[in-house]
């Protein structure tokens, strides 16, 4: 130590600057110093590690042995790697293990003997080795279990060398090699072109040489058709494809299963569609038949009144009014139904949602649904949305009508409807929330409200929400009921903005 500059540099600073984890251990095996890297690697604070027996930093199974090694090392200290190429493991404070390489250097200051242990993380190397071992093992197992056949296509001589399993599938007796022509002859004619394309792509030197294709093979002896899956890799020499080395697996059973599953799925789907269709038709039939039944009865009442000697004009009037109202109801059902089914043709434009909301509020008022006070929270200067303005207005009016109707039934003291229009940042869409103070919905009802013709109202048609949902979706948004324990009902819907920001 000739220079005062160096003398100023403390040992601890040097120690901490080292890239490897270092532990200083005294002659009775206690840690007396550890650098920052070591503390981090082993997840200890200095206070925790200081004075710890070194064996505490290794898995239990190593400890006894290490005791003995340690004693003999102190008798004959030398600088050397620990473990002689064996895998060493350090134990972290949380009990997890990490593979490390350790080298040992004896340090003596007078009578005191220490050992400096330097730890390298060996994890990476170890993992790669392990993965390799596992994949080799897997391959062996897979080949055995799956009955894999192996083939080697010699590209230059147009010959294929293959194993017994391959020969089995191709119906070849014994030859170790077969001409490419003969090999291809057994492949199902419909599958040859697809296979050829895959090979050509793989032999392109610009490709990664990977090859994978499924095709059918027809055994020339018995005519049995089998599906096989082949995977392989092209080998290149001087930029030219020379070999295709690969494996083949019989996947006939799997293909058959896939096919049946697919058929079953298709069948289920048709069945389901039929069921939905028949339910809808039955709902429509009911919806139209009810007013017809009433009209028929009212008309007969009117006829009877006219024919009877005790003519009652009051009843005649009531019957005719009833008939008119019911004819209107039937017509309305039909139109709602058509609106529901015509949602497909959509003319979109840009418009201000806040403006359309105000129009909807006016329409609701004009239609006799004005008995509520709106509490508006409208985002100022919100970007324009893109959609069909008329349809969006209809959605809003439907939701407002429902809210008012709900509050009427419950006869709530305050008939306020809170309406929020804002930008939903998460999905970058306009987001409308309509919350009333009506009785809300029980879980059973909530499940069904979007079904066509589902209603709990005596004169309801039950198409309002079904149509509104169909319309929002046609406009690229969503409509849903919030599931919460708040009083009243809360409906949400979203719409896309005109310009994507």
């Amino acid at each position: 130590m000739k220079d005062s500059l160096l003398a100023n540099l403390s040992v601890q600073t040097l120690f901490d600057a080292a890239a490897d984890a270092m532990l200083l251990v005294d002659n009775i095996g206690h840690v007396v110093q550890a650098n920052a890297v070591a503390l981090e690697l082993l997840d200890y604070s200095f206070e925790q590690i200081n004075g710890l027996e070194i064996e505490a930093l290794m898995p239990k199974s190593y400890r006894n042995q290490h005791h003995q090694h340690r004693n003999s090392y102190y008798k004959n200290p030398e600088k050397r790697p620990m473990g002689k190429g064996r895998d060493l493991v350090a134990l972290r404070r949380d009990g997890s293990e990490i593979a490390v390489d350790i080298s040992l250097s004896p340090i003596s200051t007078g009578a005191q003997h220490f050992v400096l242990a330097t730890l390298h993380i060996a994890d990476k190397r170890r993992k790669v080795e392990e993965a390799l071992k596992i994949s080799e093992e897997r391959l062996r197992l897979a080949k055995e279990a799956a009955g894999l056949g192996v083939f080697d296509f010699d590209y230059r001589n147009n010959v294929i060398h293959w194993d017994e399993r391959m020969r089995d599938i191709w119906g070849e007796e014994s030859e170790e090699s077969v001409s490419y022509k003969k090999f291809v002859a057994a492949i199902h004619p419909d599958d040859r072109a697809a296979r050829q394309t895959v090979i050509e792509r793989a032999i392109d030197p610009a490709s990664n040489g990977e090859y994978s294709v499924d095709y059918r093979v027809i055994n020339p002896n018995d005519g049995v058709e089998r599906w096989i899956a082949t995977v392989g890799r092209i080998h290149f020499t001087n930029g030219h494809a020379t070999r295709l080395l690969g494996v083949a697996r019989d996947i006939t059973d799997q293909k058959i299963l896939e096919k049946t599953l697919q058929e079953q799925r298709a069948e289920m789907e048709t069945l389901f569609k039929q069921q939905v269709a028949s339910q809808t038709v039955s709902a429509i039939a009911h919806e139209l038949n009810q007013p017809l039944a009433a009209i028929s009865a009212y008309s007969e009442v009117a006829l009877h009144a006219l024919n009877s000697s005790t003519f009652n004009p009051e009843n005649l009037k009531r019957a005719l009014e009833g008939a008119v109202a019911q004819a209107q109801r039937a017509g309305k059902s039909l139109h709602e139904l058509l609106a529901f089914m015509q949602k497909g043709e959509l003319v979109t434009e840009r418009f201000e949602l806040n403006h359309v909301l105000k129009e909807a509020l006016n329409i609701a008022k004009g239609d006799g649904y004005g008995d509520f006070s709106p509490l508006l929270a409208l985002e100022p200067a919100m970007p324009e949305v893109l959609g069909n303005e008329t349809q969006v207005r209809k959605i809003l009016v439907n939701l407002l009508r429902n809210a008012v109707e709900a509050m009427r039934v419950a006869a709530v003291p305050s008939s306020a409807i809170s309406i929020t229009v804002r930008t939903n940042q998460e999905i970058n869409m306009a987001h409308v929330t309509i919350q009333d103070c009506g009785p809300g919905l029980d879980a059973e009802t909530a499940k069904r409200i979007f079904e066509p013709f589902f209603t709990t109202k005596p004169t309801g048609i039950g198409m309002g929400l079904a149509i509104s949902r169909a319309l929002t979706e046609a406009n690229g948004g969503q409509l849903w009921l919030e599931q919460n324990n708040k009083p009243g009902a809360t409906f949400h819907f979203t719409l896309p903005f005109a310009t994507l920001t």
């Binding site: 009911h286 038949n289 007969e300 009442v301 009877h304 005596p458």
Partner: protein
Amino acid sequence: MSTEATIFIIDDDPAIRDSLTLMVVQEGFAVSTFESAEAFLESFQTERFGCAIVDIRMSGMDGMLLQEMLTKHHFQLPIIFLTGHGDIPMSVRAIKAGAVDFLTKPVTRERLMTSVRFALVESEKMLTERASHQSVQSHLAELTERERDVMALAVQGHSNKEIARLLGISHRTVEIHKSKVMHKTGATNLLDLARIAHEGEFKSIDKP
């Protein structure tokens, strides 16, 4: 039947209730309407002369279930079902369970009234049977225990002599009991007595 017939209309569609009410009232019947099966069950008392026109398809309790409930509680009321579409298996089930008729909407006045009239005849029958059943019951209740024993054995076909031996009483006493039984039940002969015993679900008491 002194009371006037009441036609109950149970349908969740207000227009159907209204139009059918007008129609049935024109025929001179009293009408009582309900918007649900539950509401009807709540207000219905047994012993009413009349019939019910019930919609099969209602939210909440449907028509078939209402029929079941009425049967379960021994409420005797003929039911005419109305349905949107002629569901054959359902109509068979309803008729088997005692429904008077199963009509498809829209129903004509003529068709409905024919069923109503038939249902009222049924209702009257039910009530008469019920009344006679009740009078038999009250007659039987007047009998003393000994008289019941004698009656039980008599309707089983035992002669007075056998009854005397079985009950350990004199032939003369049996004769006296028996004439009291005939008098109290109003039976004209032994066959009539047997009928009364059957109608009143009279259980023979198996005492020696």
